[in-house]
């Protein structure tokens, strides 16, 4: 028990980061589950972080309230952006959302209320480990049950083939819009928790490199799987710590691990399990045919 306390004292920051990164990964996994690549989650996290931080600083409202308002703000912006943008497909949607992220950065860099390039500081440190993991547990429950709802079936069908989905009464535009808005809201929750964890935020926290980090969590874990996304976030967040003894060379190991996953497990870590399953089913079917 004493060992556990000691371990937590030493690594609490890392444990918190893993949780927040996992929430970011879940936010992206929602749009990936519907089969579209929207890369604005870091920007939505930033929008919510600024809104929540400003409310904490000026009004002194508690974390739960500021986080909900921040996430709602991110979702509202997501809805406005989502209406035109979710009509785009594939790489066009990716580029449009990256462009939106850059616009958000420029605005945050130049508004006086957001503190410009220096950002905001003295944000109350209200985020605690149990709060992060409570949110993560609620979201994991949501994603687990979502697959069993009609909405979950519609999301999966649109991912598989949006034209075929439409010919069975599913509106792909609606599915894409609402997954985009939901994704923005979840990214907003992560952004607000991040802000209240780190004492200060600046526009640089929400740039393209953060977006790529989030994308890597999902690719490593398995693009369309919420469990994979969380696992990917945990692994990628841990890597730099595990290989700390390599000092300056540890980034090389990070790169090698990324390459290995992409080459040997293109469906991600979650895909290793399900590919094995499907493979067995396919083999059984082939055997049935030859009989």
């Amino acid at each position: 028990m004493e060992w556990l306390v000691h371990f937590y004292a030493l690594h609490s920051k890392l444990i918190d980061q893993i949780g927040i990164n996992a929430i970011f990964a879940l936010s992206l996994s929602l749009t990936l589950q519907a089969g579209h690549l929207a890369l604005a989650n870091a920007a939505f996290g930033g929008i919510a972080a600024y809104v929540a931080s400003l409310l904490s600083l000026s009004r002194g409202w508690p974390l739960s309230v500021t986080t909900l308002i921040g996430a709602a703000a991110a979702a509202a912006v997501g809805a406005v952006i989502g209406l035109p943008v979710t009509r785009l497909r594939g790489v066009f949607l990716a580029i449009a959302t990256i462009g939106f992220g850059e616009i958000a950065l420029i605005v945050e860099n130049n508004l006086s209320i957001t503190g410009g390039a220096e950002g905001l500081s003295q944000i109350p440190n209200e985020t605690t480990t149990w709060k992060i993991y409570l949110v993560l547990a609620i979201l994991a429950f949501f994603f687990w049950r979502l697959r069993r709802t009609r909405a979950g079936w519609a999301i999966a069908a649109v991912r598989e083939d949006e034209y075929a989905a439409a010919s069975f009464g599913i509106d792909p535009a609606r599915v894409k819009f609402w997954t985009f808005v939901g994704s923005a809201a979840i990214a907003g929750i992560a952004g607000s928790l991040y802000a209240h964890e780190n004492f200060f935020i600046s526009p640089g926290d929400w740039g393209f490199s953060r977006m790529i980090d989030i994308l890597v969590y999902c690719v490593i874990g398995g693009a369309a799987s919420p469990w994979g996304a969380m696992l990917g976030a945990a692994i990628i967040s841990l890597l730099p710590e595990v290989f700390r003894f390599l000092h300056d060379y540890r980034d090389i190991v990070n790169g090698i691990v990324l390459l290995a996953v992409v080459i040997f497990a293109p469906q991600g870590i979650a895909g290793l399990w399900s590919r094995d399953q499907r493979g067995r089913k396919a083999a059984a079917a082939a055997e049935g045919q030859s009989r």
């Binding site: 069993r148 709802t149 979950g152 439409a166 010919s167 009464g169 509106d171 396919a282």
Partner: protein
Amino acid sequence: MSSLHYHDVGINFGGVHALSGVSFDVRSGHVVGLIGPNGAGKTTLINVTTGVVAPTAGSVTLDDAPLSGRRQHQIARLGVARTYQNIRLFPRMTAIENVVVGATRIRRDPDLGAFVFLPAVRRARIELEEHARYLLHRVGVPRDEWETAASVMPYGSQRRLEVARALAMRPRVLLLDEPAAGMNPAETAGLQALIRSIAEEDVAVMLVEHDMPLVMGTCDRVAVLNFGELIAQGTPAEVSRDPAVVEAYLGSEAAQ
């Protein structure tokens, strides 16, 4: 009882008349064959019916409800089902899951019920899968492929799965786009019986097919398209005697 009406349907792709002046009816309980040489506009007519492309002239109505102007998913919700010539299954879903998605239109289980573990949701899922297994059995997908991902199923099974998925919608209108492609004569005979049994359930069936024995043996009426125009319609016997049809298929010299 419902019926599908094409009234003077025309479609113009930038000066090219893919369809023009097409008028005919498909009544429930009947199978109407739509035949014609490659490029005659058969699949285009299915795409017009299902809202993939909008007609530039004329209209398509289901009973008294206009279909033209509505979007794809709205038309599907009215009970218009289709299969795809170039198979469009949900590749990573199993056969059963594909059929469950097909049933989207008729599902009535409470959507948010799964979040609070409502027993009704579980029961609905069991019923949907039960119905899916019945349909897979009916169209002849072998039992050991039911849990297989659609993308790795044999070609013939994929075609049958297309039909099962469309039936899951409990369609009022069923548009079959070359369902017999790649089937052997025994399989085609099974398909013929299946299509007749679907029509007997008061579904209006349109069959696009190149397999003439299948069309002649299955259909109550046949419509013939050539270069986007309806050149003949009538019973299979009438159509096969029609000189314009013979000419379209075999060339003018053979017709003389």
